[in-house]
Symmetry: C2
Subunit: 337 residues, 2 copies
DNA sequence: GGCAGGAATGACAGCGCTGTCAATTTGCGT
DNA sequence: ACGCAAATTGACAGCGCTGTCATTCCTGCC
């Protein structure tokens, strides 16, 4: 029937315990033995039984990915992160479980406790915006469940991965400045999301560096959705002195801005330059294609999970990795009119 | 430390085996005993150890949700299904695992085998477009892993959930006909997806019933994306005799059509009526809001999982459930010009 | 009242692996 | 060549639960 560890042991003429050691990359096995056991495993296509390992070894080989499904950034973004986390888990033969948590509902602590006592994840990956919710982090530490975060708000000794979003935002605004734009507007994302803060900060930084005083009328609140982009843009286009460029905090809102531009008879990029952030598939399909910042979400999910797994295996200690970004200059931005 | 089944047994003055019986809803336990055991479990906040259950009982309490991440319908759609499946699994104390499969890559059979030998899922939920890929289904049957499908192409004795998409498509086209439209175009989704076929069939049915001969120029291929909607619309708007209404096979493409309408100076709904399918969040944020068909994806995921779980528990046998749909008549459709 | 027959309960082994610790082998200095 | 410490290997129990089968407890009926 099923090939068991014992069968491998017999085939390799060693004790089961030695096979176990090889399986878990433990020390104190001679290379010769290790090779022999590996060969036997390979030959017999041995697959350890996760439940047995988990029961005997008191660990689950399970990573849970937590997200907030009340209030999440786009589901595309989450899906990409999920894909990356999954890839890393697969590579290390961990399994992954996804858990929506509803922060607003208040019972999330109970739900977290349930998750932990029911499934005993060895570690947890946190995604925005729940990377910095103090009660959650506290509870995880109480349960002694290690975690890694994707784009946490607070940098520090946290495990995980970030991108220098502020720098990226500054760079994209500088691109607009170089094109001669002076009245540059910004559409902010959902308040309190790290992404919103950093992108706003980058915008301000670039404007200030260019010696342009901030015009409050040019900074409008949005909510990361297409619709909120449309509304923000309408507000901007109704101003006596209209902006010549809009930097929206994500692509969905930028798309909304382009949509609204059509309503007002503004041609992009001739009358108005628009840029976004994220480099979603949508941004390439638009016409003109959207100038934006590429954020490697999938890769970030993967790296966050790898940091966590490194920590779990005790192989050295993980840290907060900073990802590079890249501007995608496309057709939606042009010389100021 | 941890409360074990044995502890509950002692508290309820029964043997461990009896507690196990209660835990698994088995027969041959008096109500009195059952109550007593339940009370003890409750009082001690007992949580069975999944690995121990799985090891001893030879089942995993695991449901895997499979999807194609080369070629999927929108990630929003999948995310909703995932949420629904998760909800059902949670309710029955099963855990859920998501597995992207790349049908195009050809090694998916090996990946499926790996999934099964590594994790031993008790059952599998299939999502479009991999609900009908014969080699996959065959392999699942060979492994004797039961499956349930969301919107399978082939109805039959399959377990799962569908919606009468053809009927819904017909209904929405009839809505356009009632508004006086005669030149009604259709933008098709990705070929071979059941969704594309049914929606096209519904369109044809409605047109034929109204006695309108099919004009091939009015039926354009798309690919379920915003961009493909834009391109399809450009094609339609370049016709000598333009359509007065467009029914796109999903909301993303319908949004693309509205976008392209702006480029051509067509006002929606005054000059052009547009409708979609799916009722994505986007459809409500547009202006005008999109007339579309509400497809209860989350609910469908939940029901598919429930059908599967029913089957797994042997409590009666699951079947193919048909969901109701509802038209969402909004601002993007109006009386023909 | 006694007994068959089914319902309810329990004893016990074992699922496949790893932790602990004991046994054995190896390498090294003298 | 010998002794000793360190490296390597193995024996064995047990993780928390369920399957199997034996045992006990009820019924109803003659």
């Amino acid at each position: 029937m099923r090939v068991r560890l014992e069968d491998v042991a017999r085939a390799a003429s060693v004790s089961p315990k030695t096979v176990s050691r090889v399986l878990n990359d433990e020390a104190n096995v001679t290379d010769a033995t290790r090779q022999r056991v590996r060969a036997a495993m390979e030959a017999m296509d041995y697959r350890p039984h996760p439940s047995a390992r988990s029961l005997a070894g008191n660990r689950s080989f399970l990573v849970a990915m937590l997200y907030d499904n009340n209030d999440n950034p786009s589901s595309t973004y989450l899906a990409e992160i999920q894909d990356g986390v999954l890839e890393a888990c697969d590579a290390h033969r961990y399994s992954m479980m996804v858990r929506p948590l509803r922060m607003r509902d208040g019972d999330f602590i109970r739900r977290l406790d349930t998750l932990i006592s029911d499934h005993h994840p060895d570690g947890v990956v946190l995604t925005p915006p729940i990377t910095d919710y103090a009660p959650l982090l506290k509870r995880l530490r109480e349960h002694k469940v290690p975690y890694a975060s994707v784009s946490p708000l607070r940098r520090g000794k946290t495990l995980g991965v970030t991108m220098d979003e502020q720098h990226a935002a500054r760079a994209i605004v500088e691109h607009l400045l170089e094109l001669g734009h002076r009245r540059i507007a910004h559409v902010i994302g959902i308040a309190n999301h790290g992404a919103s803060r950093w992108r706003l900060a980058g915008y301000r930084e670039a404007m200030a560096a260019a010696g342009l005083p901030e015009d409050p009328a040019l900074v409008v609140q949005g909510a990361f959705t297409f619709g909120s982009g449309v509304e923000a843009a309408r507000q901007l286009f109704s101003l006596a002195e209209r902006p010549t460029a809009v930097f929206a905090a994500n692509d969905d809102m930028a798309t909304g801005v382009m949509w609204a531009a059509g309503e007002y008879g503004l041609k992009v990029p001739h009358d108005l330059s628009v840029c976004g952030f994220d480099d979603t598939p949508l941004s390439r399909q638009l016409w003109p294609a959207l100038t934006t910042v590429q954020q490697p979400s999938r890769e970030m999910g993967k790296i966050a999970a790898e940091q966590l797994l490194t920590e779990l295996r005790g192989h050295g200690t993980g840290r907060l990795v900073q990802m590079p970004f890249s501007l995608q200059i496309r057709g939606s931005t042009a010389i100021a009119p």
